[in-house]
């Protein structure tokens, strides 16, 4: 794969990387015919972001050749290494004229080359690992509610919450107003924690199409990264959400750029029976009524990679859902064996962990049957090992 980014777009790429760095520790690069995609996921698999840059974004874009049996080359690199190249946005803007990204399958390094002023060229050779495709399973069409607002509005709203705040609840109220409120985990905390709430009028948004009385709770921290990108690029931000428990999807759209941020949301049922279910999210909101701040991963890792030195993928954890799984739940977690058919959801790690909804799915490599489920579910990765 070879691509060249020129001029002001280098800074855009830099900002995208900064945004992704707020999500996860690894940056996934996936060249496709429709552009180069940068993705990240957090360790608990409750946040996923992808930036897809169309070929027009680049001065030169060669995704590489895919044979009939091979796919375009994918890899992942340490976020810190990649971010280090784009660390200082002001200096990117001032001195970098062009950025070249070069990835040769048989090469041992991903090459990032910055062509700067005064004939200076900085070449970074980053170690990478091949990997499976990282893809969250989500569908904005299935979301009952949608809000579109200029990024500035949301930035102004979010500033009232402390930077360390974990979760915020977005809701709809009387008169079409939209509310944002910090989420307090339990009653005992309510008498000790300051609760901040603000209301936005419908006409401050560009478009509002929400199911009345709906609300979702998600992690603010991961959202802030996208918000600063949106503000800088002056693009309106669209929020797609559904019931509590179903993921919330933030999108930014542009002619040359498509950004998605998918965050798990708190589901709010009361009961907490333990039977796992096949689908993580697609079914009813899980009984777990707590927010996992201990973000135990409950999504299967998608990247089982060929050459990867990763450990065994973490199992798919499902929320504790009252209905029995389609497949027999295994009581020892950590391992799903089934691949093709269903996702046998395994009860996640220690039963009292509360989970957020899962929404990850693994896109199987061709030749393997894909997850035989509804879109929202994640397919656990099939990985017999470990």
């Amino acid at each position: 794969m070879k691509c060249v980014i020129a001029g002001g777009n280098v800074k855009v790429l830099g900002r995208a990387v900064h945004s992704l760095s707020r999500i996860g520790d690894e940056l996934y690069l996936e060249p496709t015919e429709s552009g180069l995609s940068f993705r990240a996921v957090n360790s608990s698999r409750s946040a996923f972001a992808s930036f897809l840059f169309a070929p027009l974004f680049f001065q030169l874009y060669e995704p590489g050749s895919a044979g009939p049996d091979t796919e375009l080359f994918r890899c992942k690199v340490h976020m810190k290494s990649f971010l280090g190249v784009f660390r200082s946005l002001p200096s990117l803007e001032k001195s970098v004229g062009k950025c070249l990204i070069l990835l040769k399958p048989r090469a041992s390094r991903l090459v990032l080359q910055l062509h700067c002023k005064y004939g200076v060229t900085k070449t970074h050779n980053l170690a990478f690992q091949e990997c499976e495709r990282l893809q969250a399973v989500f569908d904005t069409q299935r979301c009952a509610s949608r809000l579109c607002a200029p990024a500035r509005l949301l930035a102004e709203a979010v500033v009232h919450f402390p930077p360390t705040l974990a979760e915020v609840t977005l809701g709809t109220g009387p008169g079409g107003k939209i509310s944002l409120r910090n989420y307090v985990e339990d009653e005992a905390e309510l008498s000790k924690t300051m609760v901040t709430e603000l209301w936005l009028a419908e006409d401050e948004f560009q478009s509002v199409a929400v199911a009345p009385g709906s609300h979702i709770t998600f992690c603010l921290k991961e959202f802030r990264g996208l918000l600063s990108f949106a503000e800088a690029s002056n693009l309106p931000l669209t929020i797609h959400f559904d019931e509590p428990g179903r993921p919330v999807i933030f999108t930014l759209d542009d002619t040359v750029l498509e950004v998605h941020l998918v965050l798990a949301t708190l589901s709010d049922t009361e009961s907490s029976s333990q039977s796992p279910s096949t689908n993580g999210v697609s079914h009813l909101p899980a009984p777990s009524d707590d927010f996992a701040d201990d973000l135990e991963s409950y999504m299967a890792a998608m990247e089982t990679s060929e050459g990867c030195s990763e450990g065994p993928p973490s199992p798919t954890f499902s929320l504790h859902i009252p209905r029995p799984a389609k497949s027999k739940p295994e009581e020892e977690e950590e391992e799903e064996e089934e691949e093709e058919e269903e996702e046998g959801a395994v009860p996640g790690t220690p039963p009292h962990k509360r989970f957020r909804s899962l929404f990850f799915g693994s896109v199987m490599t061709p030749g393997r049957p894909g997850p035989a489920t509804t879109q929202e579910v994640l397919a656990e990765d099939s990985d017999g090992e470990s």
């Binding site: 009232h160 309510l190 300051m194 709430e197 209301w199 401050e204």
Partner: protein, 284 residues
């Protein structure tokens, strides 16, 4: 028991926020005492606070456009609330451009101070942000715990040096030692000293001036007979001093301290509309 108040003036809001920020630096939890004419922020000298105490007093008329208070009873027309000043500080932080800030005592699930900030947004409408700060209501029988501390019998009273300078000196000293000796005499000289096994550092200030105190009792008036050069010293926790200085965002009109040899240091910071007293006990 009822309380509602409103600030509309930007300068008043900014000044009030600064006071809250100062208090937040000094106390994790403190008492807010409301009377018809004044607000007090009080920290009593319990062990939990490291023995330091705070008494900060301001006239409500200088800040609030509206102020209505009904105390617990007619003869005791006051309200004492325990709260975390950091919460109020945070609530006011993003309110600096507000059209109005209303504070109200409410009791939904639990007693709260509800701070409602009205921010300008679109030309026609405004945005309201509310912050519910949980408070604890202090029952009448405990009010005696929070009386104004009396001025100690001090040996020396002296004006403080420029706070900014004092702050930077103390901050650097804080890296070297946990305790600082503050000493001063009646000739306007003050020394800040730290001493460790490896190093001792002293900063000397002079020409500070000594405030005249009306001599009510023999103690102060015997100052004339006393040696003007002799230093009264007290060793205090350097962190407390640093917190006091760090919280000062604006230069006070008057800043002085009273040192009772080896017992206590009493700081008085006076601004136009607010007075702050901070008592730091000496380490034995």
């Amino acid at each position: 028991m009822r309380f509602r108040a409103k600030i509309v003036d930007v300068a008043c809001l900014s000044h009030f926020s600064r006071i809250i920020n100062t208090v937040a630096k000094l106390a994790k939890t403190c008492i807010l005492r409301l009377t018809v004419s004044k607000l007090y922020f009080i920290l009593s000298d319990k062990i939990a606070n490291g023995g330091a105490s705070l008494w900060c007093e301001l006239s409500q008329g200088n800040f609030f456009d509206e102020f209505q208070m009904e105390g617990v009873a007619a003869e005791h027309n006051e309200i004492y609330l325990e709260f975390v000043p950091e919460n109020l500080s945070r609530a006011l932080k993003t309110a600096q451009s507000a059209k109005a800030v209303k504070i109200k005592l409410t009791n939904k699930h639990c007693p709260c101070l509800r701070v409602a900030v009205e921010l300008p947004s679109l030309p026609s409408s405004s945005r309201i942000v509310t912050h519910d700060i949980p408070v604890g209501v202090i029952p009448r029988r405990m009010w005696n715990d929070f009386r104004e501390p009396s001025v100690p019998d001090f040996d020396v009273s002296i004006y403080l040096p420029v706070l900014k300078t004092m702050k930077s000196v103390v901050e650097r000293m804080k890296n070297l030692s946990n305790f600082i000796v503050i000493e001063a005499n009646l000739s306007g000289e003050m020394n800040l000293k730290i001493e460790t096994d490896l190093v001792s550092v002293t900063t000397h200030f002079k020409d500070l001036g000594n405030p005249p105190w009306a001599s009510e009792d023999g103690c102060q008036s015997s100052a004339q007979g006393r040696d003007l050069e002799s230093m009264a010293e007290a060793c205090i926790d350097i962190k407390k001093l640093q917190q006091l200085l760090a919280g000062q965002q604006v230069n006070p009109t008057k800043a002085l301290c009273n040192i009772a040899r080896k017992r206590i240091v009493h700081f008085i910071l006076l601004h136009e509309e607010v007075s702050l007293q901070y008592f730091i006990p000496a380490i034995a």
